[in-house]
Every structure is written in structure tokens, then in C-alpha cells.
């Protein structure tokens, strides 16, 4: 089989047959090594996935006022997310349309306009070309100069509950349709705020790992790995968990308790590649309503109603394909740099109007687990690099992602519901990936 792939890939992206990279039938769901390692696959992903779907580029609170901007990426393409004078958000390719220099180098800032440092062309906050320097001087541009309109504006920009997404494809489905059931992840996570809003907090954790970007999507909704990858953390939990600030983030002082939580509820492979771990029943609403933050939980129950309240306070994590993850009290985003290099950024947030002690507890708890020195995340990214290294063993064709395949339930909506620790959430991305990659 390997020889066949080698021939197909000789032609680069044009010679790529992505359907041959996924082995899917009643008993199998396997992904070929090359889907993670091949430069031609990576190039095709940038063209057929990241240039065709809604990509997360930032949170509205990062650019609250006109003139505020932040930099972001759509796949490997640098963009500026900018708030114009009228308050609208624009996503502009971060490249001067004259001779190509990057316009903004800071991660965030406030400007009156965007001026290219190379020849001084000036662009508005909406990207419109405002001035060409020395336009009419000797050796200048002709009176009928066909000037570019401005910085390339990403044609579709929309937001859901403060999360800003951009889409390079003018013909793409609207954001609401794209998100579908994944809106529940956002609604429930942000619904833990009595005000229904989050506030980003402090500086983000930024890490890189020498592995493919899809390892991160697979992992953030992987209930199966926790007791194995993080067995060291489980040992710490047993010894220190209550005293060093877990704050219920990872729940349970014993491996048994942590296993029980991870094997409850449902997993979802949603249309368009999103995934969810939806663990209702992992929180005891009665205990919360009679606990230390009674008024807070009563407010949430009144806002959401009894039934939804159980989901809002239960464990919930999810991905929004291709580059957003929501888990605990954090927004996680990742960007592909090369087939074997990925950057992950974690923004912690507060729940607006939740008790101060509650937000502080969650912040300290996540600090303990996440980041480059955290007791959990560092293991995940180490495993991603280990995976990529392992794939050098290319005599093995396939990675096996069919755990729980036989119990997947396909709903009329097109979403697939699986059992809690199945690999349905991992299959979500590959089902969308296969469709997108088949298009030219």
C-alpha cells in the first residue's frame, strides 16, 4: 500500500487522492500516516480546509475600541483583526498589497491607520487604501494607475457570543449553520456566567510542539487518554489535589473517581467536523445548590431551567473545526506551521459576575495543569511530538481511530452521538476533512 501512496504523491497537491487516506467501513475507521506527515497533504489542507471553512481569529474583548487590532492566522496566512471607527470588525490579510511587507508585527495594539513601513502606503482600519506616498512625483504612478482597493479583506467575518470567526470563501455557509450543535458547547460554557459573558484574563500560554496540528484537535476531546497520558498527574491528584488548588477542575482524588466521570455522558461527532464531550450527570445539581456558592448556582438554574442547568454545570468540552477548543475556563486555539510543527495558545477567562473566589479558583487550577511547566499539558504536547516521531515508522500504514464505532448513532441532523469514551469526537474532524479535501 505504501508504494501506491508514494506514486500518488509524486505529483504534489494536484496528485493527491485524500479519500485513499481514510479507511472507513463498518468495522474500520483508520487514518493513513501521510495524513499527518505529508507536505502535499499539508499544502492541500491550507487550500481546501483553512481557506474554505470558518476559522477562529479572536475574542471581541481583545479589540474593544475603534483602532484596536490583534494579529492572527488563517492556516498559515497572517491576518489582522481590526475594529473600524464604526465599530465593525474587519479581518485583513497582514500583507501590504504593494510589495508584500507585513503591516502589523505586534500581537495587539491601537492605531489610527495601518501604514506600511516599506514605502509608506496608508490603509484605513477597514483596510481601504487611503494614500499612496509620492504618488504623482517624478517616476510616480500614471494618472490612470489601477491602484489596489486596499488590504485584502477576508470576505466573511461573523461572531458568535464574542468569538470572532473569518472565512476566506465568499460562498461558504453562514456561521450559524456552520456551528450547528457546537453552539451548545459555547452556550453552556459561557452560560456559567450569570451575565452570559466571559472576560479574557492575563497573558496567554503559548507553546509549540513538533507534531501535526490534528493531534491537538483529537486530544482536547479525548476522554480515553487521561488516565494514561496523565497518570503522573493522577498520582499528584491523589497526594496533593485538594491542597494545591485543583478546585474541582479535574474532579476526584482517586483514579476510580476520575475514570467514572470520564465514562459518563455522551460524545459527539458533529457536522462540519466539530466534536463534543458532553458529560451531564457529572455534577450533582442539588449539592451545588446547597454548597458554598448557592446564590450563584440558583441564579444559573433560574436562567437556564432545571434540565439545562444540569448540562451547564456538568463537564463539557468541545472543538470547533478546525482551530478552536473549549475546555474548563479557557479558549484554546492552534495554528499549523508545517506538517510537523504547531503552535497552541491558551487564553484563560473569567465568568463575568460569577463569585470572585470561583474565578480565582479556576484560574489557579488551570495554571497548575496547563502551560509549558504545567503538570498535564506538557505531557500532551510531549506525546504529540512522540506521535510524529513514531510516524517515521512508515512501514505501518494506519492509525486506528475506531474505538466505539459500533455504538455510533447517526441522527437525522447528520450529527453522530457516541458513548462517552469512544473515539467519535476524533472521527468528527476526519469525516469533515475527507469531504473538504476531496474538493478542488
Amino acid at each position: 500500500m505504501s508504494a501506491m501512496f508514494a506514486r500518488e504523491h509524486e505529483g504534489g497537491e494536484a496528485g493527491l487522492d485524500p479519500s485513499s487516506l481514510i479507511w472507513q467501513d463498518e468495522r474500520h475507521f483508520r487514518v493513513h500516516t501521510r495524513a499527518y506527515t505529508d507536505q502535499a497533504v499539508f499544502d492541500a489542507e491550507m487550500a481546501r480546509v483553512f481557506s474554505k471553512v470558518w476559522v477562529y481569529v479572536g475574542h471581541e474583548s481583545e479589540i474593544p475600541n475603534p483602532g484596536d487590532f490583534k494579529t492572527a492566522y488563517i492556516g498559515t496566512q497572517p491576518v489582522i483583526v481590526s475594529r473600524a471607527a464604526d465599530g465593525t470588525v474587519h479581518v485583513l490579510v497582514n500583507r501590504c498589497v504593494h510589495r508584500g511587507a507585513v503591516i502589523a508585527r505586534e500581537t495587539r495594539g491601537t492605531v489610527r491607520d495601518f501604514t506600511c513601513p516599506y514605502h509608506g502606503w496608508v490603509f484605513g482600519l477597514d483596510g481601504k487604501l487611503l494614500a499612496v506616498s509620492e504618488r504623482n512625483d517624478s517616476g510616480g504612478y500614471a494618472p490612470d494607475f489601477d491602484a489596489p482597493e486596499g488590504l485584502h479583506r477576508v470576505p466573511k467575518v461573523d461572531a458568535y457570543r464574542g468569538l470572532i470567526f473569518a472565512n476566506l470563501d465568499p460562498d461558504a455557509v453562514d456561521l450559524d449553520t456552520y456551528l450547528g450543535r457546537a453552539k451548545k458547547t459555547i452556550d453552556r460554557k459561557f452560560g456559567r456566567s450569570p451575565a452570559g459573558r466571559i472576560a479574557l484574563r492575563g497573558k496567554p500560554f503559548v507553546m509549540r510542539y513538533q507534531g501535526n496540528w490534528k493531534f491537538q484537535i483529537e486530544n482536547i476531546v479525548d476522554a480515553y487518554h487521561f488516565l494514561h497520558t496523565h497518570k503522573g498527574f493522577v498520582a499528584l491528584q491523589a497526594k496533593y489535589g485538594e491542597s494545591t488548588g485543583d478546585y474541582g477542575a479535574h474532579k476526584g482524588g482517586s483514579a476510580k473517581a476520575m475514570r467514572q466521570i470520564r465514562f459518563k455522558g455522551a460524545s459527539w461527532a458533529l457536522r462540519h467536523g466539530h466534536a463534543q464531550l458532553e458529560n451531564s450527570g457529572t455534577a450533582d445539581p442539588e449539592a451545588l445548590l446547597n454548597g458554598p456558592h448557592r446564590a450563584y448556582y440558583e441564579a444559573l438554574r433560574d436562567i437556564h431551567g432545571e434540565e439545562e442547568f444540569a448540562f451547564v454545570v456538568g463537564r463539557m468540552s468541545g472543538t470547533i473545526f478546525p482551530n478552536l477548543g473549549l475546555i474548563h475556563q479557557q479558549i484554546r486555539t492552534w495554528r499549523p506551521i508545517a506538517p510537523d510543527l504547531t503552535e497552541v495558545t491558551i487564553y484563560l477567562y473569567d465568568l463575568v459576575d460569577a463569585p470572585h473566589e470561583f474565578n480565582e479558583g479556576w484560574m489557579r487550577s488551570q495554571e497548575r495543569f496547563y502551560g509549558p511547566a504545567g503538570h498535564g499539558m506538557a505531557d500532551d504536547v510531549d506525546i504529540f511530538a512522540r506521535n510524529q516521531q513514531g510516524l517515521a515508522g512508515s512501514a505501518v500504514d494506519w492509525l486506528v481511530l475506531e474505538r466505539g464505532l459500533q455504538t455510533d448513532e447517526k441522527l437525522a441532523s447528520g450529527d453522530i452521538k457516541g458513548l462517552p469514551a469512544s473515539e467519535a469526537p476524533q472521527r468528527a474532524l476526519w469525516l469533515a476533512w475527507k469531504q473538504l479535501m476531496a474538493r478542488r
Partner: protein
């Protein structure tokens, strides 16, 4: 040991070199003893913040330092399997008086690598960490104790690799 009332630059260098030696030879239980009971080991994401104000790369009070050392010495986990070797180089040592006693500033470069099959990604690669450090030291009857060790990574606001060892 007598109650120290002064801290010369030579004294401060001796203290920092002793600490670095404990870290580089993995005598981590002894490293814990260098700290005061209310001591803090802090690697901020933003050195302009107050300690504890927001999440940090490391924000370890006494119990969290014990947890981290226990993790390193007694628990097998992927990010330290194989474990890191470190080597500290210390320079530009300065001493100032401080409300708690003394503030020792230094520039330190820490080299780190993990041993193993050095043909593999992440193994055998030497990672240099360029830092400015501040040790706030309190004189006690048992000698100088660290009240706060702050490590300001030169790249604190850029991407970072594996930092699951002690700096």
C-alpha cells in the same frame, strides 16, 4: 549558624551557585529547604504583574513546590521521560537592600536537554533559557532564606517549549 546582617556580592554569588548546584545535581529536597515557609517560586507570563494577579508559567507556594519536586523525583510522566539535565550559568550578580532583607539580581542562562535516543525529535537537543532572576532573601537564624525567586524569561511572551524541570 549566626544571624546574617549583611550580604556582600561574594555571599550572594555563593548562595546562587549553591542553589544552581542543587538543581543541576537533582538534590531537589535540599533545594526546597532554601526557601522560607512563605516563599514563592514564580515564573510569570508577564513580569509587570504582581505575583498571583493572573496565571503564571509557575506560581508555586511551599506546597506547590513540594508537589513539583515530588513529581520530578518520584513520578514517571511523559514530559520528563527521559528526564532533563540542566546546567546553570550565573552572571551580573548585584545586591540591593530590601524590606525583607536583600534583593539579589542576576542574569542566568540555563541549558537543558533530555537524554535518550538522540536521533529522535526533542531528545539530545540543547535548549538555552535566557533569564533575569531576582531572589528576595530574608536573614534568619538558620541563614539566608528565599522569600521570592522570580524568573523573568527573555521569551516570556513568545512561544515556549517544555519547561517541566526546575529553573
Amino acid at each position: 549558624m549566626h544571624f546574617p546582617t549583611t550580604l556582600t556580592r561574594a555571599d550572594a554569588e555563593t548562595l546562587l551557585i549553591h542553589e544552581a548546584d542543587l538543581l543541576d545535581t537533582r538534590q531537589l529536597d535540599d533545594w526546597l529547604k532554601l526557601f522560607a515557609d512563605d516563599g514563592l517560586y514564580w515564573i510569570p507570563l508577564d513580569p509587570a504583574e504582581e505575583p498571583g494577579q493572573n496565571a503564571a508559567i509557575v506560581y508555586d507556594d511551599t506546597l506547590r513546590r513540594e508537589e513539583r519536586v515530588y513529581h520530578l523525583l518520584h513520578v514517571d510522566f511523559p514530559a520528563q521521560s527521559p528526564p532533563s539535565r540542566t546546567l546553570h550559568l550565573i552572571g551580573n550578580v548585584r545586591v540591593q537592600e530590601h524590606a525583607q532583607g536583600f534583593l539579589v539580581k542576576s542574569n542566568q542562562v540555563i541549558y537543558e536537554m533530555r537524554t535518550g535516543d538522540s536521533a529522535q525529535v526533542g531528545i539530545g537537543e540543547i535548549q538555552p533559557l535566557v533569564t533575569m532572576m531576582e531572589h528576595i532573601c530574608r536573614p534568619t537564624a538558620e541563614g539566608m532564606r528565599i522569600v521570592r525567586k522570580t524568573i523573568m524569561l527573555m521569551n516570556h511572551d513568545a512561544w515556549l517549549g517544555n519547561l517541566t524541570f526546575l529553573l
